[in-house]
Amino acid sequence: MTPDDPLFKALQALPREIAPERDLWEDIRPALQPPAPAQPAAAPWWSGLLAAAAILLVAVGTGQLVPEPPPAEPAAEAGWSEQMASGMAALEETLASHRDEMEPEMWLIVDQSLGEIDDAMRRIEAAMAQRPDDPQLEVARARLRQQRVALLRTAVNL
């Protein structure tokens, strides 16, 4: 096609975007199913942890990934988690205040990653209810909390 071609000229004038005549979101939203809860038999408790870690890698990028924290000692867990809880709440508040400034794509990744971590946390806590003396579960929970804080810190600085 040459620039003199009437078809070429007509093509140049076509709009890149066309808004639907009605708001389609109202029909889309009910069709969006939340992620199905994991089946214990099909997914071991630590699979959520792995998924969270994988998405975390995507979210923060290898160049920005915080160093892996040392395994938490169960004895230090109680005091440490209190500090963590208040720090995490402050970070969440900061993130919420920056939410409108973030690119929607980045917000989606952060939101998804937090969801994955929270899902993994729920599975770990369910496992802890059944095996309260399992030290590995304590360590896994502590690591997950550290991952959550690292993700929040990174997201706040985006």
Binding site: R16, E17, I18, P20, L32, L108, Q112
Partner: protein
Amino acid sequence: MQAFEDLYRAHVGRIHALCRRMAPAEADEMTQRAFVRAWEALPSFQGRSAFGSWLHRLAVNVILTEKRSAARRLARVISIDDPGGSRAPRPVAAGMDLERAIAALPDRARQVFVLHDIEGYKHREIADCMNISEGTSKGQLHRARKLLREALTA
């Protein structure tokens, strides 16, 4: 969910334009399906490409898959050799603008034209996603342009 709604708001114009040109009669439905499919496929989006490009490619696949399924359903009822391809084009009224002229093209010619001349796909890419040969893609593009020129000068 709020994050996904934000993405919907940011990209719906672009996706709806694609759907309206590729599948004029089902544009709303295809737009909805594309976003639902995107939601389902989100875990596979790893941020390596722009979200808009990923979504656009996904929408093209949704449209072409739906069209193929519809053609198969039709083929069970009536015998057809080339769905949309060999069908006589609907008549094009004089003075019709380009959007309406595109909508009046035979299905396959319209899909190739939209992907190539509007969306910038190469014939190799079109051949891959439409399961046709590059030669067929070129032939359909030639046919579409010819019909559109006739419509624009009518």
